[in-house]
Symmetry: C2
Subunit: 333 residues, 2 copies
């Protein structure tokens, strides 16, 4: 079983997933991708994963058999566990809580070599709907406080399997970074009476120098204090604090935007990246000033001693330069 | 010129070092090490670096010539610049400051293939003295607020050159993580009337389960909320808030401890790591509750979407297990 420990100095939390109890030589740095024949996410290999939690498949096909279009399975190497009860304990001067939560994998496609950037908008819309549905389902557990949706692309960005997939992890507390965002957004709201993300959208649309593209529902831009080269945010135009309540139009417009962004990063730049959905923690207090959005963090640089010691990233590509290069890919905008 | 931008939501800072203005395909992920013939840190290649800032060399030898034992040079690709004036500005809703600061490289040895783990305690003591001297020198600039000393080992931990070296970076503000440590340590001090690090040392020495080794002046242990597998801290027994004021005995005992730790991580585990000196920011207010120390962060896992989205690390090796494995290497303790 895992546990979540709190650093007594910084208050930051860490998941100790010690069932694996690895020794130094057990760690392998990213190398070759698994071949499709042994890939647990490929169609025909359904028995290599835990039983599916959900799937988009023809009604006549049974669970854990081929024929699906999208498949959701518990992570075989989950760091957090849904069957665990939530408790908090102290151990001398330290404190920790149980590793309650969940870790699911959303397999984008039965095809190992498929790419969202080449798929139809309908396929991506269906994927987003499935992710929204799992997001809402996981939040039904009253002991869950936050659900983190993300996609890792490329072994150096943490994708240990090449078969395209997203991940959804649920945690029993509001994690450190979402809490920091909430605190900052609340402070801005108290001072200026508006959502900080809405202010950013207005400022970015007015200057235009960091905007990549936009449609009726979303704006894509490189943020002013971009931590990663080509870091790109996709922010909904209408204020909404939580992912999981998209309209049909928003879903389709997000799918259009994501398809192109993913084609650029995966197929053209071939850049490892993490795509992260930032959403309000399960607490209605934050509704007015938190604004859900997507962050794409290309992993072209390495965090080293300076970044890990100071918490300050060094970004060698100014977001204005990055946005200019990305904007060239959207001649219609 | 670079600039330091502030994230309007989280308050976190980022260095935009845009003079390099890289396009996506300009980024190279770590591959082969440079050969010694073209390595700018090797003896005989002194002309490949900017003029040296300091060196341990025979008095009869001139600067930037061979014969040195330790050599300090400005980083050729510095993200912060000493000649820059410090200023703060606003740009609409955003704020930023100049990239004032410095970035120095301390070359451990003229020999490309040398290893601290195989050197004499006197050599390591001399290296630590040189680092202390540069640390104190950089703090003489009144616009400098923090000096970060670190060593990156291995390309995946950010060491772009294999020739063993440390780095010292000076920043014009207290960075985010040191500020977070100061805030947490101050809160603990107000609540309990003691230094949180002194409390941790007492608790760790009493339980012993996470202690690796110790001598009169230092204790090495795996911290309770270790973020990285085999994360190890070296903490001075006497309360002292800042690196740079070590006694002769402390210097020698730190050299003994470091020598063995580096031998384990570099030669035996062959693990990439970042070694980071945490020290008080330049402000006497924090003297009573901040406690300088060294953190060794082995980079055996990859930060992916969950870690970058939540700020929560997943550590697959419990620190008690890690400490047990590391303690085996110290049969005399």
């Amino acid at each position: 079983m895992s546990e979540i420990r709190k650093d007594i100095i910084t208050g930051n939390q860490v998941i100790i997933a010690s069932e694996r109890g690895k020794r130094p030589h057990d760690f392998k740095l990213p190398t070759e991708e698994k071949r499709a024949t042994s890939c647990p996410f490929c169609s025909g290999n359904e028995q290599l994963t835990p039983p599916e939690a959900a799937a988009l498949r023809p009604t006549q096909s049974g669970p854990d058999t081929p024929g699906w279009q999208i498949r959701v399975v518990p992570n075989k190497f989950a760091a957090l566990h849904p069957e665990e009860e939530f408790w908090e304990r102290e151990e001398g001067i330290y404190s920790y809580c149980s590793g309650k939560g969940s870790a699911e994998v959303v397999v984008e496609s039965p095809d190992h070599y498929s790419n969202l950037g080449e798929k139809g908008v309908e396929d991506i819309t269906a994927l987003l709907e499935m992710i929204e549905q799992r997001y809402r389902t996981l939040l039904l557990d009253r002991e869950i406080k936050y659900v983190q949706v993300f996609k890792n692309f490329g072994p150096t960005a943490g994708a240990s399997l090449a078969h395209p997939h997203w991940q959804i992890m649920a945690t029993p507390m509001i994690p450190d970074l979402p809490r920091q965002e909430l605190t900052g957004a609340a402070a801005y709201y108290r001072k200026y009476g508006s959502c900080v993300y809405c202010s950013i959208l207005a400022a970015e649309k007015e200057s235009g120098e960091r905007v990549i593209t936009a449609n009726q529902s979303f704006v894509a831009f490189c943020p002013y204090a971009a931590r990663y080269p080509f870091e790109s945010w996709i922010v909904p135009v209408s204020h909404g604090s939580t992912f999981g309540r998209l309209t049909r139009t928003e879903l389709r417009e997000l799918a259009c935007l994501l398809r192109k962004m993913i084609a650029i990063f995966e197929l053209e730049f071939r850049s490892p990246y993490n795509l992260i959905i930032h959403t309000r923690a399960l607490d209605d207090r934050h509704r007015d000033y938190y604004h859900w959005h997507i962050e794409i963090l290309p992993r072209l640089t390495i965090m080293a001693g300076f970044e890990l010691g100071t918490g300050i990233m060094i970004n060698p590509t100014a977001p204005e330069v990055a946005a200019g290069i990305l904007r060239e890919k959207y001649p219609d905008y």
